[in-house]
């Protein structure tokens, strides 16, 4: 009952607050004021419902806390524990991904393929940042800068030195990595808020440099006529180019998944996680903090640089507007929503965050609103993200009990 009363109060308060915004409208053409009272009602009802739901969920969470502590095996954990099942799911997903362009595109219409290319680019970004933030716990609010480094590397190298896409792809990754190390050094000792601010600053500086150094980076106008990826000198039409980009970035996604997965369950990945969990304890247990942090930064930046090259090639054109703080925040949201450290979760979140807005253009105006609401709700109901990170189980003893991939049956 108290809840209802409070929610009612909140509803009224919001009606009052938003009155000038949603009710009064001055029609500048006919010079008259419109009063849209029905909007007020909607705001009131909406605020009331959200407030009530909010309190309800907080209570529920408090009540449920005791029971959720004992982690039940989630679907993801079951998948991870069952190599046969997970292999099947993986093969199924791969098959769908491979035939996708042929299902959704026709000779003239390849819009969906292009959308998917952008989404997959963000999947790679999400997985890359997942190394830095999700595994090693180093908050990075300027991650998109490394993406920019890769994109501009390709644009400049192809323009000035006539280097091809395939030569630039690894170079873009390496440049990203180099910048990761350069940024990594000064922030080794920082933690939490300070780290957030410095990385935020790095992202901002990168954008400002790109915008203002006209002679080299083309300023706000950016760089145009970036060559598309080449395929043995074949001439591709528009659709073929998109499909080709699609397969390139798909391969990159597969490579990222493969590498992250290998690293995650290795000596290196364990050290990253330990550092994330407790820095003092991990150095006291012999983990070299500087080296481990730098490797996490560099590797995260590597993927951004790599996929930046693909981005530049696919778009033909880049300018600083593609590398704003919003994009960094978007990638970070993918990692947090997906579940820190969880590969599957990050992929799902990245696809959802890129594809839903694209296909729900009708609601484009409310995009940020929905985005914010989803974030808040997630933090209440699933603070660990969509899919909580699963831990691999090892089997012990038995000199011949293989411990390799796909062969960890329980005992």
């Amino acid at each position: 009952m108290a809840h209802l009363k409070r929610s009612f109060g909140i509803g009224l308060w919001f009606m009052f607050l938003t009155l000038p915004l949603v009710v009064v409208r001055v029609n500048t053409l006919s010079q008259e004021v419109q009063w849209r009272w029905s909007n007020l009602l909607w705001v009131g009802v909406g605020a009331f419902a959200i407030a009530w739901f909010w309190q309800f969920s907080i209570n529920r969470r408090a009540a449920g806390r005791a029971s959720t502590v004992a982690d039940k095996p989630s679907l993801a954990q079951r998948l991870a524990d069952d190599p046969v099942l997970s292999r099947r799911v993986l093969l199924g997903a791969a098959a769908v991904a491979i035939v996708f362009p042929w299902l959704v595109s026709t000779g003239q219409n390849f819009y969906h393929v292009n959308v998917m290319v952008s989404a997959l680019i963000f999947v790679v970004l999400g997985l890359g940042l997942n190394i830095t933030v999700g595994l090693a716990g180093l908050l990075d609010l300027g991650y998109i800068a490394f993406f920019a480094v890769g994109a501009y590397t390709y644009a400049l190298l192809s323009k000035n030195f006539d280097l091809g896409f395939w030569t630039c792809l690894p170079l873009g990754g390496l440049m990203g990595m180099l910048f990761g190390v350069i940024l990594g050094f000064p922030i080794l000792r920082l933690r939490g808020d300070y780290l957030a601010i410095v990385t935020l600053g790095f992202g901002a500086i990168t954008k400002i440099v790109l915008e203002n150094w006209d002679t080299l980076f083309g300023g706000a106008a950016g760089l145009a006529n970036i060559p598309r990826p080449e395929l043995f000198g074949l001439l591709l039409d528009g659709r073929q180019k998109s499909v080709y980009s699609y397969y390139i970035v798909l391969a990159l996604v597969a490579l990222t998944i493969f590498v992250t997965n290998r690293l995650k369950n290795s000596r290196i990945g364990h050290a990253w996680m330990a550092l994330r969990e407790d820095e003092i304890a991990s150095v006291a247990m012999g983990v070299d903090m500087a080296r481990t942090k730098l490797s996490a930064y560099a590797l995260g930046a590597f993927w951004a640089g790599l996929v930046g090259v693909v981005f530049a090639a696919h778009n033909n054109f880049i300018n600083p507007d593609s590398f704003t703080f919003m994009d960094s925040a978007m990638v970070l949201a993918m990692v947090v929503l997906g579940g820190m450290g969880s590969i599957l979760g990050v992929i799902i979140a990245a696809l959802a965050l890129k594809l839903l807005p694209e296909y729900l253009r009708a609601f484009a105006e409310y995009r940020m609103l929905v985005f914010g609401a989803v974030m808040v709700l997630m933090m209440i109901f699933r603070p660990q993200g969509l899919i909580s990170d699963t831990r691999r189980k090892y089997d012990y003893d038995g000199a011949d009990g293989a411990n390799g991939e796909g062969d960890h049956g329980g005992k």
């Binding site: 590498v259 690293l263 290795s266 000596r267 364990h270 969990e277 006291a284 983990v287 903090m289 189980k393």
Partner: protein
Amino acid sequence: MAENKRSKLLEVRGLTMDFGGLRAIDSVDLDIFAGEIVALIGPNGAGKTTFFNCVTGIYEPTAGDVLIHPPGGVSRRINGMKPNRITALGMARTFQNIRLFPAMTVLENVMIGRHCRTATTIIDAILRSRRAVREERETVDQSYRLLEKVGLADSADEFARNLAYGAQRRLEIARALATDPFLLLLDEPAAGMNPQETSELDELIVRIRAEEQLAILLIEHDMKLVMNISDRIYVMEYGKEIAQGTPREIKENKKVIEAYLGEEVHA
């Protein structure tokens, strides 16, 4: 005593640590010989944990020398060395306020201890090279054996955060042992344990010393445990070392009784 014949492992001379105006440790001397269990006791705030932090590289001491003489290795002064270097040289510790890696499994917690004894690189890990596979195999086996030793083998795949308090303390010991130390430093390993768990811990520590052939320096407030298992005891108060000796000597020492023990040990 026989200690004089034994080789010295740790030698601390005039160790001093200031925090701003506060002198938390005031020229403390301490020696540890091979195979010993040495206790460091004293009232709250005496500077015991700070002493550990100085010796293990978490803090850089203001003055004094910390020298180590690893068995079969070269002697070194380790003041101001990074903690991970010191651990690699053979000193491992546990924490008074438990510091496990909560979102990692129990086994993985111990595996971290092997980090400084293995060399798998990023490239190795990506390609799953021979070395990566072999080292992982060895790490898992050794870690598992250590879990068996501290009685946690059944919980190997649990998250560390789900363990009971006493079990978490034992896991910290296993994790420290995984680094192959010649000297193990335990900061209040019995804190928060019930009498049953404490007596198990008592056995565990003695067993570890025998099986792993290492020396142990322990901070502990549980006098029964301390008097039971220590070969020698150092007593600190307000950063100063006020006494050292065998348990018997310490029990009789007037200064120590006044500062710390009170009368209950006599009763």
